[in-house]
């Protein structure tokens, strides 16, 4: 399943790091962060609950960039 989220992140490199963190999160098949449009497209593993996974993604992203936000 694919979902697109609105995000907030201030620096381009942090956006790349967020993408990396999101990809590493369990239950995420693939993730793309678009810094300019402030969007994150996440492809979930079908056996996972997307809501739980995205919460985990946000938690991991907060570690690298405290200011970032994912709206879900």
């Amino acid at each position: 399943m694919k979902k697109s989220y609105k995000i907030e992140v201030d620096c381009a490199n942090c956006a790349n790091l967020m993408e990396e963190e999101a990809k590493k999160t369990k239950g995420v098949k693939n993730a793309v962060v678009n810094f300019i449009t402030q969007k994150m497209d996440v492809e979930f593993d079908d056996s996972f609950n997307s809501e739980a996974v995205i919460k985990e993604v946000l938690k991991n992203c907060k570690k690298i960039e405290e200011d970032c936000e994912i709206y879900f």
Binding site: D10, C11, A12, N13, F35, I36, K39
Partner: protein, 631 residues
């Protein structure tokens, strides 16, 4: 400016004022130290906070952490100097923090600006639709309109949804969609596309597509998602950024430790720890790969935005990148290089006025719905007066005999002329030839053929100029027709009489033999070929969903010059990307060397770092402004 930006701007101003003010106040010792720590705290508190966070999460290469270490290190060195009765430089630490924040602020503004710019360029999203409810016209959200509803579009308003005109006529401006500024006349039964602007007449439109499926929504979605499909350049930079920071940080540590030890052990000189630590801290200031990381996606974003303004939709940064490297381009002939509709192309050996000849031919063929008859009627372009026509006789497959104004008109091919013993003049042109005789006297012939688009020749020429030497044309038409078109357009390679599946095979063959191949078609029946090519270009796609779906580059109208414009945009954008990568890397590298040698101080380092970023961002903006290649 949003709240966040205003806040940081205020901090920048206060810190700058304090810093300048302190320069003129004579204070010494601890007072001086604390005085300078005020602007430092004002400008840097969030970075220090983030740095602590980075430490907690064990991210040693966190950007904020490195900035904090560099500036706090500079402060400690200044204090150390003070203790040895040398005047310490506190200004530097504050200034580095200040410039760093200015850089971030500028970057933030630039990105917001570009986002807004492109939204404005694509200012096609309608805010409302007028609908009649109980005799009253009300404005409603376009999302609420169902297919089959009747909407009203006043002059000056945007057409909110795709539909068919059921009442009224007007001219519409489709420039926001196609980049074409000449208004188009529309009348009842014409299809009309959302995003076009109604210029003068009131229109009633029966909606054929819901808002989410309408052209406007499709285009906006496409452009917005395009920059999420990342290019190889972006991947490269992301990977580079991951190794760049650690390498610089490790080099800084080596720089702080090795030279002093070397001096003590081998040269018997004083270690000069503070000098080398200072140089190492300078390294940390340059350790952020920001200029690179921001400017590359921004360039692609601007390139895609600039293209969409011209009616060229590029579905991803990756496609923009591939397009710039295309070496071979394959055209489907009909509908791409030629109009795909039959038109009167020439009139030869006429003994009466050309117009008169067309008039007789059109009248004779008036009862027929054959494409040839349609094109004759179109060329005549007047209302056909049926009372003038009597006794129409069709000689199947050969032509027509009719009585018009008491004249006997015979119109048809050579065979019908032979049949009536009329000597006809053979034609050397390619196409369908209609010979005309009046009262069994030969009056000349009309050539009807698929017409080459007026822009095609220039399109092929400019593609060659842009470095695409290998241009191939495919067609299902006969060989002599294909050859004629190819010669006129100066296309050296063509393959004729191909069935649709053979076209796909041919394209696959060409792809396997050549490097990067683009295929341009009109999107009708060629979806498999479009998706098979490295770059599929569909033209005249306004309203055709399957073409938009299958292609990588979508041209909103059917002007082949847009293909060369698209290539030009892609090359220009990739040039900017390369410039930015090279410029940023070279400046950073020079700064690192100068820093290591002690020539560059922290001031220069932060100036260079922020300066490079600003220049790269401004350069990226250039990708937005590219002009269309004209006839």
């Amino acid at each position: 400016m949003n709240k966040k930006q205003k806040k940081i701007l205020i901090r920048i101003i206060i810190a700058s004022v304090l810093l300048i003010g302190l320069h003129f106040i004579m204070i010494k010792g601890a007072v001086r130290f604390f005085a300078y720590m005020i602007p430092y705290y004002i400008i840097g508190n969030d970075i220090i906070k983030k740095a602590i966070n980075g430490l907690k999460n064990r991210k040693p290469f966190d950007e904020s952490l490195l900035m904090a270490v560099a500036t706090l290190g500079a402060v400690i060195l200044a204090v150390y100097n003070e203790m040895h009765s040398i005047k310490g430089d506190y200004v530097e630490a504050v200034a580095v923090m200040l410039f760093y924040q200015i850089g971030e602020f500028f970057q933030n503004m630039a990105v917001n600006k570009s986002r807004k710019n492109i939204a404005e360029l694509m200012n096609i999203r309608p805010d409302y639709a007028n609908i009649e409810i109980n005799g009253k016209i009300e404005k409603v959200d376009p999302n609420e309109i169902e297919t089959g509803n009747i909407i009203i579009v006043n002059p000056g308003e945007k057409v909110p949804l795709d539909g068919v005109i059921i009442e009224g006529n007007s001219s519409v401006n489709t420039s926001a969609l196609t980049g074409e500024s000449i208004p188009r006349a529309v009348e009842v039964n014409d299809e009309i596309i959302s995003g076009s602007i109604n210029l003068n007449g009131l229109l009633k439109i029966k909606v054929t597509k819901k808002f989410g499926d309408s052209t406007v929504s499709k285009i906006l979605e496409l452009v917005e998602n395009a920059s999420s499909k990342k290019s190889k350049s972006e991947d490269f930079i992301a990977k580079f950024a991951r190794v760049y920071t650690p390498i610089v940080v490790i080099s800084a540590i080596i720089l702080a430790v090795i030279p002093p030890i070397f001096r003590i052990i081998f040269l018997n000189l004083p270690a000069l720890w503070s000098v080398w630590i200072y140089r190492a801290l300078t390294f940390l200031v340059i350790s952020c790969p920001c200029a690179l990381v921001i400017s590359i996606p921004l360039s692609f974003f601007a390139g895609i935005g600039g293209a969409s303004r011209l009616g060229i939709l590029i579905k991803g940064s990756n496609y923009l990148e591939t397009l710039s490297k295309v070496k071979t381009i394959v055209f489907d002939k009909t509908g791409t290089l030629t109009k795909g509709i039959f038109e009167v192309n020439a009139i030869h050996h006429n003994k009466i006025d050309e117009e008169k000849l067309i008039e007789y031919a059109a009248l004779a063929e008036s009862a027929s719905s054959h494409p040839i008859a349609v094109s004759l009627k179109k060329a005549y372009n007047k209302k056909i007066d049926l009372s003038r026509i009597k006794n129409i006789q069709e000689i199947s497959g050969n032509g027509i005999i009719a009585q018009i104004d008491d004249l006997e008109i015979i119109a048809g091919n050579e065979k019908i002329m032979e049949k009536f013993n009329i000597e006809s003049i053979k034609c050397h042109s390619i196409g369908t030839i209609i010979h005309i005789a009046i009262n069994k006297n030969y009056m000349g012939h009309i050539v009807i053929s698929d017409v080459i688009k007026p822009e095609s020749e220039k399109a092929v020429e400019s593609l060659k100029k842009l470095g695409i030497k290998n241009i191939v044309m495919l067609t299902g038409d006969l060989k002599n027709v294909a050859q004629n078109v190819a010669e006129k357009l100066k296309i050296s390679k063509f393959y004729a009489q191909l069935l649709p599946d053979e076209k796909l095979k041919k394209v696959e063959e060409i792809i396997s033999e050549n490097n990067i191949t683009a295929f341009a078609g009109d999107g009708i029946n060629d979806a498999p070929v479009l998706s098979r090519a490295d770059i599929g270009i569909a033209m005249g796609a306004m309203g055709s969903d399957s073409a938009i779906e299958a292609a990588d580059v979508v041209l909103m109208d059917d002007n082949p010059l847009k293909i060369s414009t698209a290539v030009k945009i892609s090359k220009n954008c990739l040039n900017i990307v390369k410039q930015n990568i090279c410029f940023a890397l070279v400046v950073k590298f020079i700064c690192l060397i100068l820093g290591a040698l002690g020539i560059a101080n922290m001031w220069l380092a932060v100036f260079a770092d922020v300066g490079v970023m600003i220049i790269c961002i401004l350069n990226a903006f250039r990708a937005l402004f590219i002009k269309h290649i004209d006839k």
